[in-house]
């Protein structure tokens, strides 16, 4: 619903090899501004490798990536990353964690605290500004981590299995919140998961990846209506999409299991 037809991320013939191992092989991908793309696939299919190339943490073996008109050749703060293990700075309070990116940009203290405060409230953490991360639950830490990326106002938000370490209840709450943030902020999002349900609930577009070599095998437009909540899982269209995806994922998993047993 947020798409504008403008290309935000252009992945052009990307390969990443580790010796003989082909983590990614000739991946071509165009992601439009405002899309919520979920990368879906079993472990080892190169999902995280792709994300690390988009952020600039890793260099590709071949090909190029262009984000918002700029070719990625170093770690780029325009692609904000939310890590599965939160990666909060334990010596900083919640508000200082959220304001970290603004501090790096040299923004004055009063202004950056004001911005940080706004995003802390957006993720529902009012009253926790002066707490250290060690005093927070996993779900709250991941909220801080999301607020920290939002406060930095990136073009793209990347989330690498952000809710995988959380319990089922907390995960559902955070999924709903992320959807609301997406609808409000109109950011372009790439989200990694291996849960089909999570993919269907969140995405506007799903890319299914397979391993050996890592590549995109299926590109599905998720036409489930927005705004969504957990109830969407009861609709017939949901189950139709789910069985379609499951068919592909299942055959890919079987293939990789057979390949690894030889």
């Amino acid at each position: 619903m947020n798409q504008t037809g403008k290309t935000m991320i252009s992945i052009q013939g990307i390969s990443k090899h580790y010796g003989d191992f082909k983590a990614l092989e000739h991946v071509d991908l165009e992601i439009e501004k405002g899309e919520f793309v979920v990368l879906l696939g079993a472990s080892g299919c190169g999902k995280s490798t792709l994300l690390n190339l988009v952020t600039g943490f890793d260099r590709p073996t071949g090909g190029r990536i262009v984000v918002n008109g700029r070719e990625v050749n170093k770690v780029d703060p325009h692609c904000g990353m939310v890590f599965q293990q939160y990666a909060l700075f334990p010596w900083l309070t919640v508000i200082d964690n959220v304001a970290f990116g603004l501090k790096m940009k040299g923004i004055a203290k009063a202004e950056r605290l004001e911005v940080a405060q706004r995003y802390i409230e957006m993720v529902g953490l009012r009253g926790f500004e002066q707490k250290f991360p060690s005093a927070l639950s996993g779900g709250m830490r991941q909220r801080v981590s999301i607020a920290r990326v939002l406060a930095n106002d990136p073009d793209v938000i990347l989330l690498d299995e952000p809710f995988a370490a959380l319990d089922a209840m907390t995960r559902q709450v955070l999924q709903d919140e992320l959807l609301q943030i997406y609808e409000k902020s109109k950011k372009t999002i790439i989200f990694i998961t291996h849960s089909i349900d999570e993919a269907l609930l969140l995405s506007t577009r799903m890319l299914i990846m397979s391993a050996r070599p890592g590549r995109v095998v299926m590109d599905i437009h998720n036409d489930l209506p927005l705004p969504r909540n957990a109830e969407v899982q009861l609709s017939p269209r949901y189950n139709e999409l789910k069985s379609q995806i499951w068919g592909t994922v299942q055959s890919e998993v079987m293939r990789s299991l057979q390949a690894s047993s030889h």
Partner: protein, 255 residues
């Protein structure tokens, strides 16, 4: 039945009783003539000497002289070791360049620098500072390098991703992230600094706790020797206590 854990008061009482018992036995041995006071004076004589010197104003001066030397040398060593260590801990090339020098300096005891330092600086304050510096710099540097290597690389990535430059990563992530380990290393180094200053003062000095001990020995004033030793112990314990307070303040987030 499970025994109740002893209370804090009971444990403190036991410790206090142990100290009193030790002093009483020591005093009794001296009074009974089991030990010649030339070799070991009774605690009462040491106390009397302490009070006498305090009255003359010579006691505190010696303590402060040593403490000042420790602080100057220690602060100079850490002021260089912390930034240099963070640099060496993060740059493999700088590390490769500096490693041979560090490996050469590390095994040298501070005592071995005394002849050269006397030649260079004479019996001056600078010479004392330099001994403390040379004795503490290399180990402090090793502690800092070690501490920076235990930083979670994910935090460095997160910082870069939020726009931190190389310099900002060092200042905003590596320094605060390794501070806990650096401080616990520096606590050990501070003890080492005291060893350095006492050895320097034993060899050549006009004031200080090491000088007090050596001077006491020259004049067969054993109570002065013992008093000097007691004062070293007390001063080191005190600085350690102050250091702990600073540590608790700086590492608030760990509790």
């Amino acid at each position: 039945m499970i025994a109740k854990p002893p209370s804090r008061a009971a444990l403190l009482g036991t410790s206090a009783a142990s100290v009193v018992l030790f002093l009483v036995v020591w005093e009794a041995c001296c009074r009974a003539g089991l030990v010649d006071p030339i070799f070991l004076p009774p605690p009462s004589a040491v106390l009397a000497k302490a009070l006498q010197m305090m009255g003359e104003g010579t006691l505190l001066g010696n303590v402060l002289a040593s403490a000042r030397r420790v602080m100057m040398g220690f602060l100079a060593a850490t002021a260089i070791a912390i930034p240099l260590g963070i640099m060496l801990g993060t740059s493999t090339y700088a590390r490769a360049a500096f490693d041979p020098i560090l490996s050469f300096l590390r095994p040298l005891p501070s005592m071995s620098w005394i002849p050269l330092s006397l030649l260079w600086f004479g019996i001056t304050e600078t010479q004392k500072y330099s001994i403390v510096f040379m004795g503490t710099f290399a180990p402090a540097l090793v502690y800092v390098i070690e501490a920076t290597r235990n930083i979670d690389p994910l935090l460095i990535r997160a910082a870069q991703n939020l726009g931190a430059s190389r310099w900002q990563v060092m200042k905003e992530v590596i320094l605060p992230g390794s501070l806990a380990q650096i401080l616990s290393g520096l606590k050990v180094i501070l003890g080492l600094a005291w060893t350095c200053v006492i050895s320097a003062e034993l060899v050549a000095a006009r004031e200080g706790l090491g000088f007090l001990i050596m001077n006491g020995k020259e004049f067969f004033q054993t109570e002065v020797v013992v008093l000097g030793m007691v004062l070293i112990s007390i001063t080191v314990l005190l600085t350690d206590f102050v250091f702990r307070l600073i540590e608790n303040r700086v590492l608030r987030w760990q509790r």
